[in-house]
């Protein structure tokens, strides 16, 4: 940064970083570095940088809570999927790393995240094509509509359980995700 001192603002590279720092194996805090300013984010806050901010930020506003790691991974991959769909230049697979409070890291391979993303896509298609349709089908102008809606809603718990099982199969194999040992 010192090499750009005194230069015009247009000539200075634009910096944006997200830094996760583990402090004495007790807690992990998140820092956001933009330009020449570093800000420590709240303990339960989420953040995003880059050109995908436009797409991800509204979804982060809807996710103002901190859940379990597997739940946040699912939500985060869904957000990344929508960002990759909408923003030019953002694409490819999604890589994910978890940094725990005890200074251990868990690296989720891109194959696992790709399978989770496919699961997310499938779930969203089911929601759009089936669930939302069934909930909004209140104008009963067809005789068999009510019967079909009741049948579909009765199948919903089993369907959701299938998605949960599929997600569990993706995350549980030890060969897919590995947790580091001794990196403290």
């Amino acid at each position: 940064m010192r090499g750009y001192q005194g230069l015009d603002a247009d000539l200075v590279p634009h910096f944006e970083m997200l830094i996760a720092v583990n402090i004495r194996n007790e807690q992990t805090r998140l820092f956001c570095w933009k330009e020449n300013r570093v800000v420590m984010l709240p303990a339960d806050g989420h953040a995003t940088v880059g050109s995908g901010v436009v797409q991800i930020h509204p979804m982060l506003r809807d996710t103002q809570f901190a859940g379990r790691c597997d739940a946040m991974l699912f939500l985060g991959i869904r957000m990344m999927y929508h960002a990759k769909r909408a923003v030019t230049g953002v694409g490819g697979k999604t890589e994910a790393i978890a940094l725990y409070d005890d200074a251990t890291t868990q690296i989720f391979g891109t194959d696992a995240t790709q399978r989770i993303e496919e699961l997310v896509i499938d779930l969203e298609q089911i929601l759009n094509l089936s669930v939302y349709q069934d909930i909004s089908a209140v104008t009963l102008d067809v005789k068999s509509l009510e019967t079909n809606v009741q049948k579909n809603l009765a199948e919903l718990p089993r369907l959701m359980q299938m998605y949960r099982d599929a997600y569990s199969k993706i995350l549980n194999p030890p060969s897919v995700s590995r947790k580091s040992k001794g990196r403290r």
Partner: protein, 92 residues
């Protein structure tokens, strides 16, 4: 035999290197017991080409600082970070 002229001018045109915009989306979510960081893996090479790269980097650095317990004075910090440079020509 008469020499033929070159099909292009030999005079080098001096111009600024083309700006390469690095488009990326990096997301950090806090969960109970840690921080989860995610990023896409697409890297724009030119206007016509793209590749894949790792945008999450894990480094382990030693931090010296004040501590009430002298046995804990030497701590370790682990950081995941991403550097985004919209004008990479100055760095390269």
């Amino acid at each position: 035999m008469t020499p033929k002229p070159f099909p292009y001018s030999l005079r080098i045109k001096v111009e600024r290197l083309p700006v390469r915009n690095r488009m990326t989306a990096i997301l950090s979510l806090t969960f109970i017991g840690g921080v989860l960081m995610m990023a896409d893996t697409e890297e724009t090479l030119t206007t016509d080409a793209k590749s894949s790269c790792d945008k999450l980097i894990q480094i382990c650095i030693q931090v010296w600082g004040y501590s009430w317990n002298r046995h804990h004075r030497r701590g370790w910090a682990l950081a995941l970070y991403r550097l985004r440079q919209s004008r990479a020509a100055f760095i390269l």
